[in-house]
């Protein structure tokens, strides 16, 4: 794999549905109902069911694995969960777009700056990934 400083990486688009969130809640052991039940979500002031922040970060990790060429190369990954990904009912769900730019390549590692959006909103704050080359 070759990643070069300044390189714009191919933008990845992922779809997330409420069924995915139900499956994720079970797999991750995070049963918070704001990720499954619209009434509960609205009762705490959210516009509707929202994805787990960690779900969105998992999508960012999928994009990074794709750019790195293989799983298991990520040595750092993180973000702030700044805005919710609202997931409407139905098969269309929500679309999360992950864009990336190689910030630097040094000592066999590439630092990737990410931009993760849902509609017009940046949903992750300061999302970064470092991969071993």
């Amino acid at each position: 794999m070759s990643l070069e400083a300044g390189e714009e990486l191919a933008t990845q688009t992922f779809r997330v549905t409420r069924a995915d969130l139900v499956a994720y809640a079970a797999a991750a052991g995070d049963p918070n109902p704001i990720h499954q039940d619209a009434d509960v979500a609205r009762s705490v002031g959210l516009p509707g069911v929202i994805a787990h922040g960690m779900y969105t970060l998992a999508l960012a990790a999928r994009a990074v694995d794709g750019w790195a060429g293989a799983p298991g190369r990520v040595v750092e990954l993180g973000a702030k969960f700044t805005k919710p990904v609202v997931v409407p009912a139905g098969e269309d769900g929500a679309e999360v777009v992950v864009a990336g730019t190689v910030k630097k390549v040094e000592d066999g590692r590439a630092t990737i700056g990410l931009t993760v959006t849902c509609g017009a909103d940046k949903v992750l704050g300061m999302p970064t990934a470092v991969v071993a080359l």
């Binding site: 079970a26 797999a27 970060l57 998992a58 990790a61 694995d65």
Partner: protein
């Protein structure tokens, strides 16, 4: 509000987590992550064990956090190696910082995730925002 003495405390780790093929498959399927047997677990998989430690912290009656008022504000991982099926992972959580702003507790935590040999696999830093 959470007592300010929380900062600096390390909590006894909850029981360790056996990383089974079934658990990794389910996590990969839920997140749509391509996964084949023998490959590393998805990068965010260590949240499963880190989250157990965070829940133990939040559920500790001495800490006084109402679980339904906690937002996951930030998560960062640093990996020593990928997680693989067969790992037995333990998360030991330390509260690094506690800031109280506008009636909210902002709790900075670090979970050291270690394997059965006690070797560090991953460091998971989480910021939890607790509102009254």
């Amino acid at each position: 509000m959470v007592d300010s003495s929380l900062a600096g405390r390390t909590f006894p780790p909850p029981p360790s987590l056996q990383v089974t093929a079934e658990a990794v498959r389910a996590f990969a399927a839920a997140t749509g992550t391509p996964y084949a047997e023998g490959e590393p677990a998805p990068a965010t998989f260590p949240i499963v064990v880190a989250f157990v430690a965070m829940q133990a912290l939040m559920g500790d009656p001495e800490v006084g956090i109402d679980l339904s008022h906690v937002i996951h504000g930030e998560q960062r991982f640093a990996y020593e190696r990928p997680v693989v099926v067969g790992d037995e992972l333990t998360a030991t959580l330390t509260v690094d910082t506690l800031r109280q702003i506008g009636g909210a507790d902002i709790i900075g935590t670090t979970s050291a995730i270690t394997d059965a040999d006690g070797a560090l696999v991953c460091t998971a830093k989480a910021t939890l925002v607790h509102t009254a």
